[in-house]
Amino acid sequence: MSEFLHMSGYAVYVWTSYIVGVGALLINVWWARRNLARARLAAARRIATRESAP
């Protein structure tokens, strides 16, 4: 197991790469979904103000 983590001496490079790569994937997902939620809220607010205005 530790042999595997060691990655024949390249541990730092390999694991950092994977953390960066997978991390970017996760951040993008979270960010995109948050974006959509906020856009929904903003659109709802816009409709509300439009409909309440005379």
Partner: protein, 250 residues
């Protein structure tokens, strides 16, 4: 018949609805393929003779590189469609691609650096492919910056579309740079006319990961594009339903 399909996608309510339905069909397979592909590459495939286990970075680096080029091209094509046919949804798609595209490019550069240090002995080299990939990152960032600097959304869309189209010339340059110049990068070993030169045990997880990354890209793009379409809405009943339909769940 095909043009009707094309125009239907240009309608914001249709796009919003269909994109929402399609997203899980891309997202879940992407997740599975990524776990399988990356896991295979990380745990199962055998170490390389020359590079030992360091070559495993390829499973992150290469798909991100390919996707940086593919996503920029998609962004440029979308922007061109929006500009020529004045379809707002196309602009929304282009805007949706940019952040992910920038991320792919950045990860490609970073993992390239992390791979370069053990392999070539240096984190950075003024190698043509690396330089032009960096240029691609600047184009993505420039696109995002230009878009946010212009207040009027319509003008922002169209101005940044011109930039996206101008920058697409960079994409073939990145790909062919390893052939045109003496470069640290090797000549293409997969996208070649006489077939790939990598052994199948190493190639297979790469292709699986690449497919996973591509589906992931489409899924994220769909989610962002829906948000962008909402920003551009001008009214109409569909908005009320779209926003109320899912309640508070995303």
């Amino acid at each position: 018949m095909s043009w009707a399909w094309f125009h239907r996608f240009g309608s914001p309510p249709y796009f919003y609805r269909v994109a929402g339905l399609l997203t899980p069909w891309f997202a879940w397979p992407a997740a599975v393929l990524l776990v399988v592909g990356l896991g295979w590459g990380l745990f199962v495939s055998p170490p390389d003779k020359l590079q030992g286990d360091a070559y495993r970075i390829i499973y992150i680096h290469v798909p991100n590189s390919w996707l940086s080029l593919m996503s920029y091209s998609a962004m440029a094509v979308s922007a061109a469609i929006g500009l020529i046919w004045r379809i707002k949804v196309a602009h929304a798609v282009a805007a949706a691609i940019a952040p992910a595209g920038a991320a792919f490019t950045a990860v490609s550069l970073l993992t390239g650096m992390l791979w370069g240090q053990p392999m070539w002995g240096t984190y950075w080299a003024w190698d043509p492919r690396i330089v032009f990939e960096l240029v691609l990152l600047f184009f993505f960032l420039g696109y995002i910056a230009l878009r946010s600097a212009i207040d009027d959304l319509n003008r922002a869309d169209r101005t940044s579309a011109v930039l996206a189209i101008v920058g697409v010339v960079n994409v073939p340059i990145v790909h062919y740079s390893v052939i045109w110049w003496n470069s640290l990068h090797q000549a293409p070993s997969v996208l070649r006319t006489d077939g790939p030169s990598m052994p199948i045990q190493m190639l297979a997880p790469l292709l699986v990961s690449f497919l996973g990354f591509t589906l992931y890209f489409v899924a994220v793009m769909l989610v962002r594009a829906r948000a962008e379409v909402l920003h551009r809405e001008r009214g109409g009943d569909w908005i009320r339903e779209a926003v109320a339909m899912h309640g508070n769940s995303p």
